[in-house]
């Protein structure tokens, strides 16, 4: 179980964080016209590092499942510093958000592909092909 976990966890944690970031960026885009809304973002590199280094809850029985990564939902979101601040106090810059959103979606797909490849490898090994 542990070996399987550590084999799939890097991609799983990445996917979960990418999903989280997609929600944050989606919220920014949704609030592009709201006065005084402050755009947020996730520092993916540090959040990912934290997600992987997280200490699991104690498992006293061999059948206990390892804790799900809670870091993804608790990850600290940071405020974005606007390139050119607007008069209504809104710090969403659509072009910035769109680029970040597209980048995030691509990385999500990449992580998904890596996870799929790992599963494929595992399946090949099991079948002994």
């Amino acid at each position: 179980m542990d070996a399987l976990d550590s084999y799939l966890n890097p991609q799983g944690a990445a996917l979960s964080l990418r999903n989280k970031r997609m929600e944050i960026l989606g919220s920014n885009i949704a609030n592009a016209g709201t006065p005084n809304f402050k755009a947020r973002d996730l520092d993916f590199a540090s959040a990912y590092k934290a997600a992987l280094n997280e200490t699991d809850v104690a498992t006293t029985q061999p059948l206990h499942l390892a804790s799900l990564n809670s870091t993804a939902s608790d990850a600290q979101t940071l405020y974005r510093v606007p390139v050119s601040p607007s008069l209504d106090g809104n710090t969403v810059e659509l072009h910035v958000e769109q680029v970040q959103f597209a980048e995030n979606a691509t990385h999500y797909e990449a992580s998904l592909q890596f996870l799929q490849d790992r599963l494929q490898t595992l399946r090949s090994a099991l079948k002994g092909e």
Binding site: L15, K20, M22, E23, I24, L25, G26, S27, N28, I29, A30, N31, A32, G33, T34, P35, N36, F37, R40, L42, S73, A75, T77, L94, Q98, F101, A105, Y108, E109, L112, L115, Q116, L119
Partner: protein, 137 residues
Amino acid sequence: MSGLSIFDVAGRAMAAQQVRLNTVASNLANAQTVSGSADTAYHALRPVFETNYPGNQEGSGLATVDAVEVKQSTAEPEKRYSPTNPLADKDGYVYGTNVDTNEELVDMLEASRQYQNNIEVLSTAKSLMLKTLSIGK
């Protein structure tokens, strides 16, 4: 998973932009109406957008938007001297609207662009979710 998903966020933002488009349409439709007094003259409608955090928790990163109310613009309506108009007051004035059509058109473009952006978010999220569902196949 909180009560609100990215689909809710984008969906509600689209509803808010829809309200904004509605007010623009109403304002443009009424741009040429006249009235007998400044009070009864048509005042441009403006939606008020407000960020909505699920469960009032800003930390979750999720934030959608609601058009909480529609207010009337407080700008002075246009006053025109037109004594032959049947609606004219005793001094011969009629009152137009305070709708600025240029402003409305700019507002309309912005609303439609932001609506499109939300559709883009929705369809990207949807296709990623579908791909995730078919993982391992």
